[in-house]
Every structure is written in C-alpha cells, then in structure tokens.
C-alpha cells in the first residue's frame, strides 16, 4: 500500500512525519511505501492512506481515501496507536 504524509509546503514537517511513520510501519511489520508531499498535490499521488497534521484535516475532507490526523508529529506512540487502530478496523 501507499501512504502519503502531508504538510502545507510538502518540505519540512511532512518529511519528519514520513520518517516517524516509516519507523512505526517497520515496527508493526506492515509492508507499505511512505512518501511526503504538499496539500495540493496529494490527490495526484493516488495514495491508499493519508496522514496529516490535525490543522490540515479541513483542507483534506474531500479526499477519497482515509485521512488520519496527527497532533504531535514527533510522538511516535501517537502515530503507532492511530495506525494500529486503522489497521485493526480495516
């Protein structure tokens, strides 16, 4: 599957989130490709799942794939519990 992490410019915070999501994905043993981008181009990437800061959730409400909001990008535990929940309910 393909996971995209998103921030306003697709440069800084989405890259940090990407690194932390990769760490979590590896620890959960999930096979996924993770990449980062900006709000306007995320739809073009055809992801299966989007992770973004909670303050971007409004801008992503029209996305046709699930979006997970993260409040603290550096909190690996938060990312882990939210991703776990997502994969359990899938």
């Amino acid at each position: 599957m393909k996971i995209m992490t998103v921030c306003g410019l697709g440069q800084g915070t989405s890259l940090l989130l990407k690194m932390n999501v990769e760490e979590v994905i590896n620890s959960l043993g999930i096979d996924a490709e993770v990449d980062n981008t900006d709000l306007s181009s995320v739809a073009l990437e055809n992801p299966d799942l989007i992770l973004a800061g909670e303050y971007h959730l409004d801008s992503l409400k029209d996305a046709d794939v699930p979006v997970i909001g993260i409040s603290d990008f550096m909190d690996v535990e938060e990312i882990k519990s939210k991703l776990k929940k997502y994969f359990e309910n899938k």
Partner: protein, 429 residues
C-alpha cells in the same frame, strides 16, 4: 607523479566540479550508512540527483517569469532601471551547487559535534532551509570575494559558521518554544528565529498573553491560505495584472509578444507559481534522502539531543495567531511596497512562501508572550525585515548571484545574519 596529478584533475573536473555527481555521492553514502536495500540505494541516489536537476530547471522558469516584473513596476513608479547582470539561481547552482551541498553536509557535522560536546543539545533537521541557507551564504561569499574565490575557502569558513548557527539558533529561542509547546522535547530549527524571538520579546513588553488570539474566531474564508501554490499564483497574478494595467498596454507591448497585456500578466503569475512548484518538488527529492541519513547519524552520536524542527510544528498551538500574524505582515509589506516604490528606492516582490510561513510562526511566538498585540507586532517585524531585507539584498548584498531566489525565498534570518556576514567579509575582502 604526473599520474597523480591527472587523477586529481580528473576527480576535480568530473566529481567535485560537477555538483549533480557530488550530490549523488553524498546521498549514496547516506543510504549505504543507513543499510538500505540495494534497490532503495539505487532509487534514492537517482532521486537525489534528479531533485538537484529539477531545482535548476524550476529556477530557470522563475527567472523567466520574473523577467518583466521589475521593469514593469519600475516604469509604474518612474524608477530608473539599473541593469544588473546576475548569474541567476539556475546558473549559480550549476557552478557552486557542489559547495552548497558540501556546506550543508559539513555544517551539519559541525552541528552534531557541537551538540555532542557543548550544553547546546540541538540537532537541526529542517533540510530545505539548510539547503537554501547554504545557497545564500555561498552567494554572499562569491559577492564579497568575486567569482574567482576558492570554493574550498568558502566551504571551510561557511561550514563552521553555518554549523554554529544551526546549534545556537534553536538554543536562543528555546525559552519561548517551551512556553508555546509546554514541553522541552523539541526545538525550532528555522530561519524565522529572529522574527520569532523579537516578536516574543516585544510581545512580553507591551502585550498581554491573557488576551490570546485563540479567543478570536477567524472566518473559514482564510483556509485557502494553507494551500501555498494557490496563494502564490493568486498574489503574483494579481500584482502582475495591476502592474500591467498601471504601466499601460503600450509599455507592456515590449514584453507581451502580441498577447493582451492583462492576459499576459495572469499567465506570468501562473508561470511563476509553476516554477516555484517545480523547485519545491526538486528540493523535496533532494532532501528526502539526505535528512533521514542525517537524523540517523545524529541520533547515534548525540542520543539525548533535541530535534530542531520546521516552523509549522508550532502552528497547532495557536492556529488563529498564524492567520493574524500573516495578515499583519502582509499589510506591512504592502505599505512598504508603496513607500519604497514612491521613494524610487526599490520594487518589492511579495514572497508569499516566506511571508506566510515566517509570519505565521512569528505570530505564534508573539501570541505566547503578548496575546493579540504580540502577534501583530511579530507580524509587523516579519513584514519589515522581509521587505527592507529583500531591497537591501537584491540591491547591495547578492545582486550578481542569486537575486531571483531572494525575491521569492529570501527570509528573516538570511537578511539579518546575512547582512552581518557580508559586512564582516567586506572587511577582509
């Protein structure tokens, strides 16, 4: 002996003198150190080189789209045009890109060493700002010592200065970061530091944190600000159209190639936004392999360090302050644009990315110590530094190297610390 000289000459011509290859090698080493799989190593190296070439290509588009903006507004304000032969960021990167990338790498190593052995345990991880800052510093050195300056000399002095900046910049704003986040586990690693620090400082003197921006409701209409591509094109298209109307169809005929001058203005705005989108994509490719390697290395050497992160990490702590900070900065720059134009000093180009991201972050800092008043002050400081800084940089500090980058990406710390650097280098040159 002559074989040795031949080998070193070959290396100099084909590796160190060819930025794209050099950058590929740095990425390759980074990926190998991280013990990535073979396919990831190959893909990552290629993506990094592609990123570098894409930045160059996008810079060319931006230079092209900006070609008539200055002359048009100079005509409107009746300013005598000063023809300056600038290299342009695309050509500058083609010549000095290797130095820029090596400065990023060595500067980071110095940051790690300082974090390991001094009380300043901060590791700078904002990759795109690292790239741009090294670009501007290299530009300042080339301006100060001339195009024949030894790139090794730039690299040695530049890396040390940059490494010190990346270590101390998070440190001097950490007091306010603690106040904003309520924790001490992350730091700010961003060139907004001067505006953020002075906004918070002044905010604490004249504002009241109890009167926080977060008690105010901001209309949803401002949500579109979060999409930077849209904002850049809208603002630049608008400024191009207004300029074209004021300059008149006759004058604009010099540029439009027979097209209607208002349609031409809109198209130039779109082209500008397109060029920036291309550059940002290139930077993303370039840094997305290098930053994880940096992070992995730093975590091993300085396990108890705090990561210094990109400025949007503070936005969730005061979302309304980001909008108010930006609005204050934007109004300030518009006033400055008119003042500098009417006094025939300089034609200001509103750099929407720097303005939005910087003023928003500075706004959060101002809000933490001074509420609404602090936020507005922080925004005004950002607007003043960016408008005056752009004028001074394009006219005096980097006129022949990367003035086109300064127009859309020049920002607060670059202007403040860059001016000081140019002044000091001027003494020795």
């Amino acid at each position: 002996m002559s074989t040795l000289i031949n080998i070193s000459k070959w290396l100099a011509d084909n590796i160190f003198g060819e930025p794209a290859v050099l950058i590929g090698i740095i990425a390759l080493i980074g990926l190998l150190v991280q013990k990535k799989s073979k396919s990831e190593v190959i893909a990552g190296t290629i993506k990094t080189i592609l990123g570098f070439l894409i930045i160059q290509a996008g810079s060319g588009v931006v230079v092209d789209a900006m070609g008539s903006f200055g002359p048009m507004w100079q005509h409107v304000f009746g300013i005598e045009a000063q023809p300056i032969q600038a290299m342009g960021t695309d050509n500058f990167i083609a010549t000095y890109g290797g130095t820029v990338t090596l400065m990023m790498t060595f500067g980071f190593l110095i940051n790690v060493i300082l974090a390991r052995f001094t009380p300043f345990k901060y590791i700078y991880l904002t990759g795109h700002m690292m790239f741009w800052l090294c670009l501007v510093v290299t530009g300042i050195f080339v301006e100060a010592f001339g195009p024949d300056v030894s790139q090794t000399k730039i690299l040695l002095i530049g890396s040390v200065l940059i490494g010190i900046y990346w270590t101390l910049q998070p440190a001097y704003v950490q007091k306010y970061m603690k106040k904003i986040t309520g924790k001490d586990n992350i730091a700010l690693g961003h060139t907004v530091s001067f505006a953020a620090w002075s906004g918070a400082k002044l905010g604490s003197l004249i504002g009241n944190p109890e009167k926080s921006c977060e008690n105010i409701k901001v209309p949803k209409a401002f949500d579109f600000l979060k999409d930077s591509n849209v904002v850049i094109v809208t603002v630049m298209g608008l400024f191009y159209c207004i300029g074209a109307v004021l300059a008149g169809s006759e004058y604009m005929g010099n540029f439009t190639g027979g097209k209607n001058y208002i349609v031409y203005g809109l198209l130039q705005g779109l082209k500008f936004g397109g060029g920036i989108a291309v550059i940002l994509y290139g930077v993303k490719l370039l840094i997305s392999q290098i930053v994880p390697a940096f992070k992995g290395f730093a975590t091993k050497v300085v396990p108890n360090a705090k990561p210094a992160l990109d400025c949007p990490v503070v936005y969730p702590f005061a979302p309304t302050a980001t909008i108010i900070g930006f609005a204050a900065a934007f109004v300030t720059t518009i006033i400055m644009m008119v003042v500098m134009g009417l006094t025939a000093f300089y034609v200001f180009v509103p750099p929407m990315i720097a303005l939005f991201f910087h003023a928003a972050a500075a706004g959060v800092f101002g809000n933490a110590t001074g509420g609404v008043r602090g936020t507005i002050i922080a925004g005004v400081i950002t607007g003043l530094v960016i408008s005056l800084g752009q004028a001074i940089f394009v006219k005096y500090i980097t006129p022949t190297t990367v003035p086109d980058f300064i127009l859309w990406g020049g920002d607060t710390d670059m202007f403040i610390f860059g001016s000081i650097l140019k002044f000091i280098l001027g003494i020795f040159s």
